[in-house]
């Protein structure tokens, strides 16, 4: 467990975040105890999150998880019930205007005045932040690939063009932080590819990007760090390189899939084996060689064993957000991650339990479930080492 996660959670909302600088990089966006209630509904629940300068940060969550609400809170469109966000060193909502000078982006779909041209829209919206030159407008239109439609009315633009224009307006003032809320939503594959390439390019040029998405592979493709949110709470956050189940899920094809399935189930339990399009999908964890040995020992002709990474990722996501079978079981017992932890090896034994335990967050990832018990301890001691081995990584 990363120590800064615990530190963040031990902070009272009124205090300055200790994690404002980490690993030589300043936190350009952080939230502390950010909570938002809409009537009796708690949309965001004590959110602690940190985005370092230079990150291309993925903000993942299923529909309705609270992603857009968090973005609205961070950008001051809605007021928190408690807690706060800090953007480029400015507290939101207290210092909202100063914070917004360093931010560009859009929430939901980017919106423009339909009777105005793309250029005039940029001129109008850009002037709200400060003077912007015609050269800069032309430059961002070029970046977004809209130079040839710069003087066309936005009302005639396709959804993809509006998305790209949204990115162009976000870049107008060369902000330190670009916030994009599902920028590939509704785009065709070509449009998605273009936008993702644009986001990657922004990341390479040193701009911090906060990318909200419900597409795991999108975040994997373009982001360096990510957080997964569900029901208004961050479940895990950390480097995207570790945004995957610890164990390996493989697709197995043999000459007798029925017998192969029996063999796999005897090894990993019935829930670890599924059939998909003629192949067996086996959550084999680190035991793939053992699986192959057993299949061969059972006189099966093993034709292929290939990693099924995407599926494993989906299952990981579902497990974390409580939308999968195990997560649904755990819903009655509290937060999904907590339920997953309770359902882990200590709670159950045998192959099924082992297969589920492979989907617990990677050690580098911060989970509220694991951080929660440490919170009280740290209030007394503030000792990072109380929160797991990752404490050694803190500089």
């Amino acid at each position: 467990m990363r120590p800064e996660a615990t530190e963040a959670r031990t902070e009272e909302p009124a205090a300055r975040p200790e994690g404002a600088e980490r690993d030589g990089r300043a936190a350009i966006l952080s939230t502390r105890g950010l909570t938002k209630d809409f009537g009796r509904l708690r949309a965001v629940d004590g959110l602690d999150m940190e985005v370092c300068a230079g990150d291309v940060f993925g903000f993942l969550g299923p529909n309705g998880a609270g992603k857009t609400t968090v973005i609205r809170l961070v950008l001051g469109l809605i007021h928190p019930t408690s807690g706060y966000a800090e953007v480029a060193g400015h507290r939101v909502p207290g210092e909202l205007r100063a914070a917004l000078r360093h931010v560009g982006g859009f929430v939901d779909d980017p919106t423009f005045y339909p009777l105005m041209s793309a250029r005039r829209n940029l001129r109008l919206l850009g002037s709200m932040t400060g003077p912007v030159s015609e050269e800069r407008i032309a430059e961002v239109l070029e970046i977004a690939g809209l130079s040839d439609r710069a003087d066309s009315r936005v009302g005639g633009f396709s959804h993809g063009m509006k998305q790209r224009l949204g990115i162009a307006q976000a870049l107008l003032h060369a902000p330190q932080l670009v916030v994009l809320d599902e920028p590939t939503s509704g785009l065709d594959p070509r449009g998605m590819k273009d936008v993702r390439e644009l986001v990657r390019e922004l990341g390479r040029s040193g701009v911090t990007v906060f990318l909200s998405s419900h597409l795991l592979h999108e975040v994997q493709q373009v982001c360096t760090r990510a957080a997964i949110i569900d029901r208004g709470r961050v479940i895990v956050q950390g480097p995207v390189a570790e945004l995957r189940p610890q164990g390996l899920t493989v697709r197995v094809v043999t000459d007798d899939q029925t017998r192969a399935a029996e063999t796999a189930r005897s090894l990993y339990g019935p829930r670890a084996v599924a059939e998909d399009d003629g192949a067996l999908v086996v959550q084999a964890g680190d035991d793939v060689p053992e699986l192959v040995r057993r299949l061969v020992a059972d006189d099966l002709d093993v034709r292929s064993v290939v990693p099924a990474t995407e599926q494993g990722l989906e299952e990981y996501f579902l497990e974390l957000t409580g939308r999968g079978a195990a997560g649904e079981e755990g819903e009655s017992g509290g937060a999904p991650a907590e339920a997953a932890a309770e359902d882990g090896p200590a709670a159950e034994d045998g192959p099924a339990a082992r297969s589920r335990s492979r989907y617990t967050p990677a050690p580098e990832w911060r989970t509220p479930a694991a951080a929660a018990p440490a919170r009280d301890e740290s209030r007394a001691s503030s000792a990072p080492e109380a929160h797991g081995g990752a404490g050694g990584r803190r500089r």
């Binding site: 990363r2 600088e21 690993d23 030589g24 990089r25 350009i28 370092c52 300068a53 230079g54 609205r72 469109l77 809605i78 007021h79 480029a88 060193g89 205007r97 100063a98 914070a99 917004l100 000078r101 859009f106 929430v107 939901d108 779909d109 980017p110 919106t111 423009f112 005045y113 009777l115 105005m116 005039r120 001129r123 109008l124 919206l125 850009g126 002037s127 709200m128 932040t129 400060g130 003077p131 912007v132 030159s133 015609e134 050269e135 800069r136 430059e139 307006q169 107008l172 003032h173 060369a174 330190q176 040193g206 360096t224 480097p239 995207v240 390189a241 990677a362 580098e364 990584r393 803190r394």
Partner: protein
């Protein structure tokens, strides 16, 4: 990519500026300074809305239609029938803008003012541009004030068109003669035009209250139609209430009770006292309603 938990990037440089007054890409400024910028932006937005031209065109058409109808029928309403001064139009084209303003002041101008005011916040919320605006570093207070001012300016242009079209079509159809006041004295054409301009400005002040009321409802909903209906329902209900003698005590406090006080411009000498009282009431209502609108908008969650 950096290894897990290790951030290899150099420290983030501090923000280069906070004032936001540097022009990105060149030294050429755009969209004016801090004070006029919001007004100019709101004005540009209005110029890029068909609604604005429909309002202006509609208002300019009213004096034309009045003049044309009376010219063709060659018979005006009897004394005391229709809006004030309408019966005098056939004798003097200078009464065309006066009667146009008088007829507009009861229903159409309040409706136009309500349309303008109700669109200001709710209309932007409807098309989603409100959140685009509020993602920029400008205060909600200056947004409300600039929108109110621009709505008043739009109506000012509309009233100017009514006056100009009224004078033009009055001259064309009936000719312009010295104006006879309600006191029976005669004032020159130039003085008459001056009185008409004062009447238009009085109407503008009266309609500022309607704009403020609509703006208030506009901050309470994400539908400009809902804001418009709410504004007009309140207006009509108050009109109905004050028509009953039981609610006579209410009349001095209701801004619409003073709409007809423009008539005092056409006395000789001008009865400034009731006009001043009316303007005071208009000012208090406009300021009060706009302040309440600002207080509501200041804390409003933008979820559209």
């Amino acid at each position: 990519m950096s290894p897990a938990g290790v951030c290899a990037c150099p420290p983030t440089p501090p923000p280069a500026r906070d004032a936001g007054d540097a022009c990105h890409g060149s030294t050429r400024p755009a969209m004016g300074g801090a004070h006029w910028g919001p007004l100019r932006r709101e004005w540009v937005k209005l110029l890029f809305a068909w609604r604005t031209y429909v309002i202006w065109g509609g208002l300019a058409a009213i004096p034309f239609l009045i003049a044309l109808a009376l010219y063709i029928s060659d018979r005006g309403p009897g004394p005391g029938e229709g809006p004030p001064f309408l019966s005098r139009v056939l004798d003097n084209g200078l009464y065309v803008p006066v009667s146009a303003l008088a007829s507009l002041l009861l229903v159409l101008l309040p409706l136009v003012a309500a349309v303008l005011g109700s669109y200001m916040i709710a209309g932007e919320a409807e098309i989603g541009t409100l959140r685009a605006i509020l993602l920029r570093p400008q205060s909600r207070g200056s947004l409300i004030v600039s929108k109110w001012i621009v709505a008043v300016l739009t109506l000012f242009v509309g009233l100017a068109l009514v006056v100009a079209a009224g004078i033009a079509f009055g001259a064309l159809f009936f000719g312009l003669e010295p104006l006879v006041t309600l006191s029976g004295t005669t004032v020159s054409v130039a003085e008459g035009i001056g009185l008409i301009v004062l009447t238009a400005l009085f109407a503008l002040a009266a309609m500022a209250c309607m704009i403020s009321l609509a703006l208030l409802f506009s901050t309470m909903t994400n539908s400009s139609l809902t804001a418009l209906i709410a504004t007009f329902v309140v207006y009509i209900v108050v009109q109905v209430l004050v028509s009953f003698s039981f609610f006579d005590w209410l009349e001095p406090y209701v801004f619409s009770s003073y709409f007809g006080d423009y008539i005092n411009f056409f006395r000789d000498p001008i009865a400034w006292r009731p006009i001043g009282e009316a303007l005071l009431v208009f000012g208090l209502w406009s300021a009060g309603l706009t302040i309440v609108a600002w207080l509501l908008f200041r804390r409003k969650d933008i979820v559209s």
